[in-house]
Subunit: 214 residues, 2 copies
DNA sequence: TCATTAATTTAATGACATTCATTTACGGAG
DNA sequence: CTCCGTAAATGAATGTCATTAAATTAATGA
């Protein structure tokens, strides 16, 4: 058998990304073999090379798909912006961490990406593609919104955005590696949520009595 | 040649950790081969297996050594505690990020550690060994110190410690992957430093007029 | 001096990723 | 409808590691 009949054709590329994502729930990127992916898709390993330059390229596609899911979720959340900017910030942080904890291996892959030999330098930075920029713009908008409510006076919104993102990403990352320091006062599971609360408390503390009092 | 003469013996284990750390300045953990390490040490690859169970074991040793350096630096910094708790916090954050940016591959390895097949579950969490605990305790102490100065009233020091660590780790991690969002207002290099400043501004904002006014 | 043990070495082994040459289906031109 | 070029797979190499095995030689202790 060589070329498959039209009625037996499957979208290998799409299926491979899906199946790889699924397989990553159980194994790490390094352990994942092309043969496993091929088997899950229903083809042989070399067939994958018609759709991906190499394994890293496949992993990068999974990585990108992961960001699409993450950002899509965040954008959906932004849709219901009946809530104010401040609470939107909190909701975003919680959603972000939830995503990370629910998709550990995927998240690890997303933030320890395989090297890109595609020649280009910055082309694959998810914060430089459409969805990423939109998501980042959203975060920034929430921050500007907070400033309109009297929070974070005088702060550069871009710097604040990066700081908040750093905090949630850092917390998620440490949690996933079981690097959350143990203590008697807090149990590990809720620690990530408490990071968000703490950050929000910090933001709240910056509020000036001045501007307006909602 | 088989067993080396006593006057030609070298400390393969120590040398391997050193050389691997050095090699990681240029290549990633995945690309690093046992042969490269062996060549740098001055032996053949199989000889390494007399000192490490396998490659992951070697990488974990490098990982642990990295934490020792990181923590040792932090502890040294704590020594000169002529400065107040608040400024100690800032200095710690800056030192942490500097370490990460100066040792990118090592830092990546430290926070994307190889799987431990040593059977044990928690034995290798650097925050559960002596140095890690000491370092963490130090952070906590600085926070409690800040509370004594009126900052962070009513906050659980353990949660605040994890939050601050998350922020600096997250910032370092994002920077290392070139994930720092670009903008006109800030240039990337100083962004990490500005995260620390922002976090410190947050902490400063929590200060209550009440207790004492230094 | 000799047996035992330890630290290396060279020479397998085996798991993958990746490439090659070949096969077979599809789609269009005549 | 047939023939041809192309696309998409396949099974069989290749090559690069990590890891193991067997063989070699030094140190150590009786």
């Amino acid at each position: 058998m060589a070329r498959p009949r039209k009625d037996q054709q499957i979208d290998i590329r799409g299926r491979a990304i899906e199946e790889a994502t699924r397989l990553l729930e159980r194994t790490s990127a390094a352990e994942l073999t092309m043969q496993e992916v091929a088997a899950a898709v229903g083809c042989r390993a070399p067939a994958l090379y018609n759709h991906f330059r190499n394994k890293d390229d496949l992993l990068r596609a999974v990585h990108d798909a992961g960001f699409e899911r993450l950002f899509a979720g965040k954008l959906a959340l932004a849709g219901r912006s009946a809530i104010g900017a401040f609470e939107r910030l909190r909701a975003g942080g919680i959603a972000y961490i939830a995503f990370a904890l629910e998709n550990p291996s995927l998240y690890r892959l997303m933030f320890a990406p395989p090297p890109s030999d595609g020649g280009g330098e910055a082309a694959e930075n998810p914060f430089r593609n459409d969805l990423g920029l939109k998501s980042l713009a959203l975060l920034r908008a929430s921050i500007v919104g907070c400033q309109g409510e009297g929070y974070l006076p005088g702060q550069d919104p871009d710097v604040v955005a990066f700081t908040l993102w750093s905090a949630v990403h850092g917390a998620a990352s440490l949690m996933l590696q079981d690097r959350a320091p143990v203590s008697e006062t807090v149990d590990g599971d809720r620690l990530a949520g408490r990071v968000v609360d703490t950050m929000m408390a910090f933001v709240a503390a910056t509020r000036q009595p001045g501007p307006d009092a909602t």
